[in-house]
């Protein structure tokens, strides 16, 4: 390879095109019109909310699993992960993928069981913020328990493919922060550890071991965002569950 000693002028147009197709288009309010079969009372009409808009402490969580003994490239693994994403979630949790698949700008709906057997299921969703051949990122809507981004990626480490989920998350409002401190944080870890174990098992890893790294990036709480509680999907879902019998009686359910 010949190295030239002259730098070409920066070409912004060409530069932006390299990643332009990987990002969602700017969107003011989300729409879950492309998802079938799930309750959508906390996504359509909402804005996205990232780790800068949440209330609680900011955490970075990194979950990795080595796919020892499995011959799969990072791109093939990510293609599989996108295609079968809901099947890797732990039992009791539901991910309703967009009909056109996990692609930039698509919205998925979720139903989360906060505790095994709990009568309330939280309805919420995610925007596919970014997706390329080796990674994809979700961003939460306002009202989601966590104001977060989570990136799923794969890379080679020597001869082994490594799968990773890395979240940057803040509990969205004071109630979410309290729940997070009282066990939600650990439960969230278990959720993604189980997901990575399921992914690894699906490609043939006999005894997958998930490595978890948790770092508190910012111990400060962002009190100016305490009003996020008004969008809370938790409260909305609880109210819907509690009023279900009444709505059934009055024929409005």
């Amino acid at each position: 390879m010949t190295e030239l000693n002259v730098k070409p002028p920066p070409n912004h147009d060409a530069a932006t095109n390299r990643d332009a197709a990987n990002w969602a288009q700017p969107v003011d309010r989300l729409s879950a019109a492309g998802v079938a079969g799930a309750t959508d009372d906390a996504v359509t009409g909402r804005r996205v909310s990232g780790p800068l808009q949440g209330f609680g402490q900011l955490w970075q969580k990194t979950f990795t699993v080595r796919l020892d003994g499995v011959d799969i490239s990072p791109t093939d693994l990510i293609a599989l992960w996108k295609e079968r994403f809901p099947t890797f979630w732990p039992k009791g949790q539901r991910f309703y993928a967009p009909l056109s698949g996990i692609a930039p700008g698509e919205v998925a709906l979720l139903e989360i069981e906060p505790l095994p057997g709990a009568p309330v299921r939280f309805s919420t969703g995610v925007l596919v913020l970014y997706a390329d051949d080796e990674s994809f990122t979700f961003m939460s809507p306002e009202g989601h328990i966590l104001s977060a981004w989570i990136t799923f990626s794969a890379r080679r480490d020597g001869d082994v493919t490594v799968a990773q989920a890395q979240a940057l998350e803040r509990p969205s409002d004071p109630f979410d922060e309290l729940a997070y401190m009282l066990g939600g944080n650990r439960q969230n870890d278990r959720f993604w550890e189980a997901t990575l174990r399921n992914l690894a098992a699906a490609v043939g890893v006999a005894s997958p071991a998930v490595d978890t790294q948790v770092v508190c990036i910012d111990r400060n709480r962002q009190w100016r965002y305490w009003r996020n509680v008004r969008n809370s999907a938790t409260i909305r879902s609880a109210r819907r569950t509690l009023t279900a019998p009444l709505r059934k009686l009055t024929g409005r359910g």
Partner: protein, 115 residues
């Protein structure tokens, strides 16, 4: 994938980090080292000049969030300049523009950062 090149240009309490190439999670060590050097030299305002940015993925955006938290923790300010329309849209989409002020050029950013 192109490597990240970061050039530090510092004048008193304001420093410009001129970022060239790709910004991904792999840029963390370089970006944090450059910021750490600026802060150690007394910079309280850091301008991120993205006019030579060639590529940024979601890992790069996450890196900017952790840099912002670090700057705030040290009482510093972080502003951005030189963003193309595409990257302005990404800042808007991710709502990063609510936390990092964006200016058209270094001069405007310098005035704002040191005000």
């Amino acid at each position: 994938m192109t490597a990240t090149v970061i050039e530090l240009d510092q004048d008193g309490p304001a420093a410009i980090l001129r970022i060239e190439g790709d910004v991904t999670s792999a840029s963390e060590a370089d970006l944090m080292a450059a910021y750490g050097l600026a802060a150690a030299n007394g910079a309280t305002a850091v301008i991120l000049d993205f006019s030579k940015l060639e590529y940024m993925n979601s890992g790069g955006i996450g890196l900017l969030v952790t840099l912002l938290v670090r700057a705030r923790r040290g009482g510093g300010r972080l502003v951005a300049t030189g963003l193309s329309e595409h990257y302005r849209q990404i800042f808007s989409l991710t709502r990063l523009d609510e936390a990092i002020e964006i200016y058209d050029d270094d001069a405007a950013a310098m005035v704002a950062a040191t005000a």
